[in-house]
């Protein structure tokens, strides 16, 4: 199908983009790679009056080392995240999760910040961003503010972004030397996660020293499996110990029911996939 008509502007600076968003009012949308938005426009599930394209703002694209963190510009593509040596070395969880996003064509065009701002609960980058305790840098008419990932995701497709704000960068604390794995359960190629688990683990001499576990699609927002994280610390990195800790994976979640899975099945998946993800991340 053909999208409903809209006005289009492609500013070259963040300030211009924020001004364009504010001027266009409530029915304006930000577009970058467009890999979630354009299909939605095509099916006329949304009909914004104005699109503000931030894909031509050079300062939003690229990954830089900022000492104890990596700063990933919001319009950096999935393909660029996958191939970046600093991401591999300091935020491996982001790389392995990005490897599972959609398909190669979509990863060439889709952006890291776009996927996060879209906030689909089945999106694969939300749980890793939450698990790595990233901070989101937002820019609006009143300037810049930073929001923790744990405060950014509010509900289905809803974030802390105000109408005049743009997600400009994601600040990811370095997790150098941590093992990582993203275990995704879906049924066919390109399908969204029914449930997925993001795990990052730091081991010391065969013992789990620190663990971060994030769950995809176990609530309207990504959730941390804190009970699992706490149960893992100090345990030997063995299949049995990890499986015992993973039994807590569904604690405190509120998984939905749909045609793919009911709540009990999703909870079962969360436990099984957490066990697999942590085992792989710990290199067992």
């Amino acid at each position: 199908m053909i999208p409903a008509a809209f006005d289009y502007t492609a500013p070259s600076t963040v300030d211009e983009a924020v001004r364009a968003l504010a001027d266009a009012g409530d029915d304006a949308k930000v577009i970058a790679g467009g890999q979630s938005l354009i299909p939605v426009l095509r099916m006329r599930l949304a009909a914004p009056t104005t699109l503000v394209d931030i894909g031509r703002i050079p300062e939003l694209r690229g990954i830089r080392d900022d000492g104890d963190a990596l700063v990933i510009g919001s319009t950096t593509t999935h393909y660029e995240v996958q191939r970046d040596p600093a991401v591999r070395d300091h935020a491996l969880l982001l790389k392995v999760a990005t490897d599972t996003v959609a398909d190669p064509q979509v990863r060439h065009r889709g952006t890291f910040g776009g996927a996060i701002a879209h906030a689909d609960p089945a999106g694969d980058l939300l749980a890793p961003v939450l698990a790595l305790e990233a901070e989101l840098v937002l820019h609006g008419l009143e300037g810049e503010r930073t929001v923790a990932a744990s405060d950014f995701f509010v509900d289905y497709f809803t974030t802390a972004l105000r109408q005049d704000e743009i997600l400009v960068a994601v600040r990811v604390p370095k997790h150098t030397g941590w093992g990582a794995h993203y275990e995704k359960f879906n049924r066919v190629a390109q399908a969204w996660s029914i449930v997925a688990v993001a795990a990052a683990v730091r081991t010391e001499g065969g013992v789990i020293a620190e663990a971060r576990v994030g769950l995809t699609n176990m609530s309207s927002v990504p959730v941390r499996a804190r009970a699992v994280e706490e149960a893992l610390v100090g345990q030997p990195a063995t299949v049995e110990a990890i499986k015992a800790a993973a039994a807590h994976a569904a604690d405190g979640t509120s998984a939905t029911e749909d045609s793919n899975a009911d709540t009990a099945y999703r909870e079962h998946l969360a436990r099984v996939l957490t066990s697999r993800a942590v085992t792989a991340a710990a290199g067992v």
Partner: protein
């Protein structure tokens, strides 16, 4: 809006509506009907083209977003009447039945081989994850991509097509 875009080596300047999809621009405005539309959901990959050297689904890009860019379609691959090695490999290996997915399959295969010059079967299957063939011809498609990889290797004496 006015856009200027280079498609298969020729530069075009056109007035387009912001809502016009790249695939519709290619097919309807400049007549590149080799790029086809196979679905309405961004799944099938039939409309795959190269945008500044990378594969994209042209149903999921706005024409206004390619202003100033370079696009290559299936129609821009052959040189002096000779098929591109990947096109020839698809021909040689019977990697199509109805042929509808073929333009996208070939464009994505070329992209895949640029990143993985000697892919194993698993790499080919994952690399073509965004392209659907409903004649269930994946077996020969995988074979064609691996055949093309061998023939594209530097120093390969074997001409594509085995002539």
């Amino acid at each position: 809006m006015r856009i200027t875009v280079t498609v298969d080596g020729t530069t075009y300047t056109d007035e387009v509506e912001p809502r016009k999809l790249l695939v519709h621009y290619l097919r309807e405005t400049i007549g590149k009907t080799g790029t086809v539309v196979g679905c309405d959901t961004s799944n099938c990959g039939s409309c795959t083209v190269h945008l500044n050297g990378q594969s994209v689904k042209s149903c999921s890009v706005l024409a206004v977003q390619v202003d100033g860019a370079e696009v290559t379609t299936i129609e821009g691959l052959a040189r002096d009447g000779e098929l591109h090695p990947v096109q020839q490999a698809f021909h040689d290996n019977h990697a199509l039945q109805c042929g509808f997915c073929t333009p996208g399959m070939i464009m994505q295969s070329i992209d895949l081989l640029a990143d993985h010059p000697d892919p194993d079967e698993d790499t080919v299957r994952h690399g073509l994850e965004g392209n659907l063939c409903r004649c269930t011809g994946y077996q020969n498609i995988v074979r064609a991509v691996q055949d093309a990889a061998q023939k594209l290797k530097p120093g390969s004496q074997q001409p594509v097509g085995g002539q």
